[in-house]
Symmetry: C2
Subunit: 225 residues, 2 copies
DNA sequence: GTCTATACTGCGATAGAC
DNA sequence: GTCTATCGCAGTATAGAC
């Protein structure tokens, strides 16, 4: 997310990615184009093709960067929502040492997972780079090792946060994560389309809180079906 | 949703709308264009402009038709989920005659509202015309009375279904509807982007059920905060 | 009411000069 | 590594023939 504007004889590759984020934030995927990115940086429309073979490879680099940044934002929000369990979020053992199945540790884990929805909403509203960009269908054919790693790390982080709640098995963590992402992405998408326009400038925070609360409800339901 | 293919010297206007739905179902908004619609119908690229002044007016007509059809699908699903209350879904009085605040009538109303999410998911997967089309930002400037009426009727129907649950006030019905729509739209959007691809051909029904269950959890949470 | 033909715009991508 | 110049293509929209 560096924004140095050192385009001429600087790191044009990084500048292209940064400018792509700006474009996505302003107009969404609809208005993203190689030509528009070049125009924004004041370089010729041919310049980007020295760094990326085609449009999809540039978008893939953006996707990888978004996955990295989004994961960081999610981890930050999770930590802010409550301290992680002593054995870390990677533990898959459902029987935590000396704690009841629905004890305070599980409640804190639920808070951290719920915070994911708010973090997702805030990040995507600010950057325009949500799962529709990170997992854009046109990127399936692009070979991009960095993107593969970062999207994998992002999903692993989400699954870890879900597993840390008292969800019985790893298998149940997957649909739980999908539900959290679905509700967060739904709020984000409706917001981007102007659905909550009447809310005024502080609408972002209002909706972010609502997304978090909705996620909490989904987590609660998963544990008491 | 008639599909007569009577384009030459038939009702081209209706055929354009029907063909637009096909395009949206296949490629989403991204691939929708006046030229592609004309091509699909075997008419010249100029022909649509005798019926719609520009692209946005065609899309607005599609939006209105989608709102109409989606509302019908939602009402059908709601009725299938359980019989409506005797005084109909338009009643806003929170005190139903002779029933406890969280009685069986309220539970049935919750089932009907939850069914909205499944109906939305199924409709949009089949047609590609969800809220991102119905409320597309580029339609704000289009004067289209039919669309205005149909979107209004759609929202009224959703608010009626939400109010029929034992939600304390009409004010609380609005965020509840928004939450339902958000989760339904989130599942739909992720599905369209290939997020649940591994599910096979029956994946549509699986995800539709999950969207319905998620909606039910949100409704439950709204009543017991 | 639909056709052909056309003007214009914007994007993706390449060739070759510097 | 970036430039200018250019090609090809797709889409929006209009003019005028039939």
């Amino acid at each position: 997310m560096s924004r140095d504007r050192a385009y001429h004889h600087g790191d044009l590759r990084a500048a292209l990615i940064a400018a792509s984020f700006e474009l996505l934030a302003e107009g969404g995927l609809r208005r993203f184009s190689v030509a528009a990115v070049a125009r924004r940086l004041g370089v010729s429309s041919a310049a980007p093709y020295r760094h990326f073979p085609d449009r999809d490879h540039l978008l893939s680099a953006v996707s990888g960067a978004a996955a990295t940044d989004l994961r960081a934002a999610i981890l930050e929000a999770a930590v802010a929502a409550g301290p992680p369990a002593p054995d870390g979020p990677g533990a898959t053992d459902p029987v935590a040492a000396g704690s009841a199945p629905a004890g305070p540790a599980a409640a804190a884990a639920a808070d951290r997972l719920a915070a994911v929805a708010g973090a997702y909403f805030r990040y995507v509203v600010a950057t325009g780079a949500g799962f529709h960009v990170i997992y854009a269908p046109e990127l399936y054919a692009v070979a991009d090792e960095n993107r593969r790693e970062q999207t994998r790390a992002l999903m692993d982080t989400l699954l870890d946060l879900a597993t840390a709640t008292d969800v019985p098995s790893y298998r149940q963590a997957v649909p739980l994560v999908e539900a959290i992402i679905a509700v967060a992405h739904g709020y984000t998408s409706l917001f981007a389309d102007g659905f909550f326009a009447r809310g005024g400038p502080q609408a972002v925070e209002t909706v972010a809180v609502r997304a978090t609360e909705a996620a909490r409800a989904l987590i609660r339901a998963e544990h008491r079906p």
